[in-house]
């Protein structure tokens, strides 16, 4: 059946058709939908794990036992899972295992622009890179064949444009694969004596994979019609841009397998054209490979190492004519993403900003607290870094610093990698104040369940971590829960915990307003006679409140009646319906 699927849904379909029996993942844009789509199949197991390392090891366990498995993550998630990745390269697999990793060139929703291909090279694991949804489906299936044939996990690399673009795919039936499990300590116990014997296997496997890359249909030459006498080596979404610009007028070597790379295939291709351009997003991986083998190519000298490409950027780099385009004289105000009206994070951030507290932040919706007008954050690095970082920050800054510094971390991020930082705080007696912004969901990636919500990926009741008990058991004695809709309560808690000479945790708890079970209250309205135009409410940054005709107004389509602005206003100008 022909249907339009985003690349991620096509990967999920491909994994399913290949007989994948288990997926364990941690959500992360732009990888999340692979796991969400796979969860819709009833005859396969699917879960959210607390982090990518746990997910990858879970998938490894399933492959070891004899069922095809997968794990999915965004590029920075692969950093978290790098530990098992490198050694799984040595153990290999029993049934096939696929690791889906989605890069984010252009950083639409990421903190860096790292190129996952480096991991494939460093861990000596094959990596496939589809360029549209049909390839996403097919490559997922081929990945299992490679995995089992060459005894290796296989990386399937997506990027934002392939992951989130819909194109037409044809689907087929699911097959079932199961391998017997046999104890094999030499292969699966990676103690030095065994690992020393496995390393040569890895090197031999890479040689065999290079042979495969030379002739695999994953890598193909598309002969041009001779209009241009140069040739282009490309992969992934860049291939689509190249075809958009040149059609059949140029010869293209399209690489579907980006690690290991072929040598002779590239040499043969280069010999047939006058000049070779390598067009790849982010780092010059293919380019450097070519140069290492003495093949003269032009890559990053013409095509940027930064951000996403497009048909325009490629045409421009090759000095082709610009298309007609016009712009306006008026500058259009930017529209950055922001915390929603009624977002529970906003109340706590308002209190922190008002008291000029230094705030070490983390990864999630609450990173948006860094934006004006709250400007509440001082640092955001990676998942969990707020909790680990505050201990170092306070140790370096001393008592004065401890009394005006907090860190903030969401419930899901705390589960992901905040717990170990808190263990360090308790163990080493750090006088740090940790605020867990518990909105009872993984928000930014689009509402995934996590171990604190009490539900699993299918929405069924599941184990639930009690944050208070967890913090106590780690050794934090001062743990208190506040409602971020209550500004006075938040302010009192923050001041008191900062004064204490011991580690403390404040759990700021209220569910995300976008959750279906959160019923909005009636919108507020501004009594224009009471409004004194002091603009204090404008410092709160609620998108439902704006300033028109010299007084505040509430947008009734956005306001959910949280009532926090009523606590801010000194003149009681925000009124509930019926007052």
């Amino acid at each position: 059946m022909k249907q339009l699927l985003i690349g991620n849904a096509a990967v999920a379909r491909g994994l399913y058709e290949a007989g994948c029996s288990l997926i364990s993942s941690y959500p992360g844009t732009p990888s999340t939908e692979i796991t969400e789509e796979f969860a819709k199949f009833d005859d396969a197991y699917c879960e959210w794990a607390p982090n990518e390392k746990v997910a990858m090891e879970t998938a490894f366990g399933a492959a070891l036992r004899g069922k095809r498995s997968a794990c999915c993550m965004k590029h920075v998630g692969l950093n978290v899972a790098a530990d098992p990745l490198f050694t799984m390269s040595y153990t290999g697999v029993n049934a096939g295992m696929v690791i889906c990793v989605a890069d984010d060139p252009g950083m639409h929703s990421s903190q860096n622009e790292q190129d996952s291909r480096h991991y494939a090279i460093a861990a000596k694991i094959p990596m496939l890179e589809p360029s549209d949804s049909q390839e996403s489906l097919e490559f997922a299936k081929i990945a299992y064949e490679i995995s089992e044939h060459f005894d290796t996990p296989v990386l399937l690399k997506m990027c934002t444009r392939v992951a989130h673009s819909q194109s037409i795919v044809e689907t087929s039936e699911r097959q079932y694969v199961e391998k017997p499990y046999e104890k094999n300590p030499q292969k699966y116990i990676m103690a030095p004596a065994n690992a020393i014997r496995r390393h040569p296997f890895v090197e031999e496997r890479t040689k065999a994979l290079i042979e495969y890359a030379e002739s695999s249909p994953l890598n193909r030459i598309e002969e041009g019609d001779g209009f241009h006498n140069f040739g282009i080596i490309t992969s992934s979404t860049s291939y689509q841009y190249v075809k958009e610009v040149f059609g059949d007028s140029v010869s293209v070597l399209k690489l579907g397998m980006v690690n290991p790379l072929p040598v002779n295939l590239i040499k043969d291709f280069a010999a047939k054209v006058n000049q070779v351009y390598v067009i790849e997003e982010l780092d010059p991986i293919i380019e450097n490979h070519c140069k290492a083998f003495g093949i003269h190519v032009i890559g990053k000298d013409k095509f940027s190492i930064l951000g996403e490409f497009s048909q325009k950027s490629i045409a421009k780099a090759l000095d082709l004519e610009d298309k007609f385009s016009r712009s306006l004289d008026t500058e259009i105000p930017v529209r950055p993403p922001m915390m929603c009206a009624g977002c529970p994070h906003r109340g706590m951030y308002y209190v922190l900003a008002k008291n000029k507290i230094t705030v070490l932040g983390d990864i999630g919706c609450y990173t948006l607290g860094a934006a004006p007008p709250l400007n509440a954050l001082d640092m955001t690095l990676c998942m969990g870094a707020s909790v680990s970082g505050i201990h170092g920050f306070n140790t370096a800054g001393g008592e004065e610093c401890e009394k005006k510094t907090v860190c903030v971390i969401g419930d899901s991020t705390f589960m992901h990698s905040g717990i170990t930082g808190l263990v360090n705080i308790a163990y080493n007696g750090s006088n740090s104040t940790v605020i867990i912004l518990d909105n009872s969901i993984t928000g930014m990636t689009g509402h995934q369940q996590n171990p604190t919500t009490g539900y699993n990926i299918k929405g069924d009741p599941a184990g639930k971590v009690n944050l208070e008990d967890l913090c106590h058991s780690i050794g934090i004695n001062s743990v208190r829960v506040v409602d971020p809709y209550n500004l006075a309560e938040c302010e009192q808690a923050v001041k008191e915990e900062l004064e204490k000479c011991e580690p403390s945790v404040i759990i700021s708890r209220r569910p995300c307003v976008l959750l279906k079970y959160v019923k909005p209250k009636k919108p507020l309205w501004v009594n224009a006679e009471k409004c004194k135009s002091c603009k204090r409410c404008m410092k709160f940054g609620c998108p439902a409140i704006s300033f028109r005709d010299n007084h505040a107004v509430v947008d009734p389509t956005l306001c959910i009646g949280c009532g926090v602005c009523q606590q801010l206003c000194a003149f009681d100008a925000f009124e509930s319906e019926g007052e």
């Binding site: 939908e33 989130h164 497009s310 712009s327 004289d329 922001m338 603009k535 998108p543």
Partner: protein
Amino acid sequence: METKNVMIVGVGGQGSLLASKLLGRLLVDEGFDVKVSEVHGMSQRGGSVVTYVRFGDKVYSPVIEDGEADFIVSFEKIEAARYTQILKENGVVIVNTQQIDPMPVIIGATTYPENILDEMREKGINVDAIDALSLAQEAGSAKACNIVLMGRLAKYFDIDREKWLCAIEKCVKPQFVELNKKAFELGYNF
């Protein structure tokens, strides 16, 4: 057939996803090669959202670049203006006249350019402005703005109206089919 390009722009949460789903479904059923591209994640939180829909005999790139769009369908006034450079010389902008203040306007750092559609017309751009919000409310729900705008877009397409209505049936929950069909007709006949 040369590839046709429709860019759908709006503010996170306005329902552009359903609009692109409807359009994609219709075009696949019509036998075109189709690509639809959007970026999820951060952009959902009240930020600008952009969806590209491309169709033709064979579509390669999933994105639309400067000077390539045949249509911009905008759910909000300044979002239409933000992407003027994308429009072809004879392209058409279908725009909902709704104004949604972005945060820099809300906090007073800048002002909302109220007369931006006039400036676009002065630049020779074909602007088809429509109060989609009121028409959607007339159809029964403010949320049907997206389908009102698709109805308007349908005016410019060589595809039978019945086929659009058929695609609506396939894309929305049964209880909302009638409402959305009405929204489509109101946009189409505006």
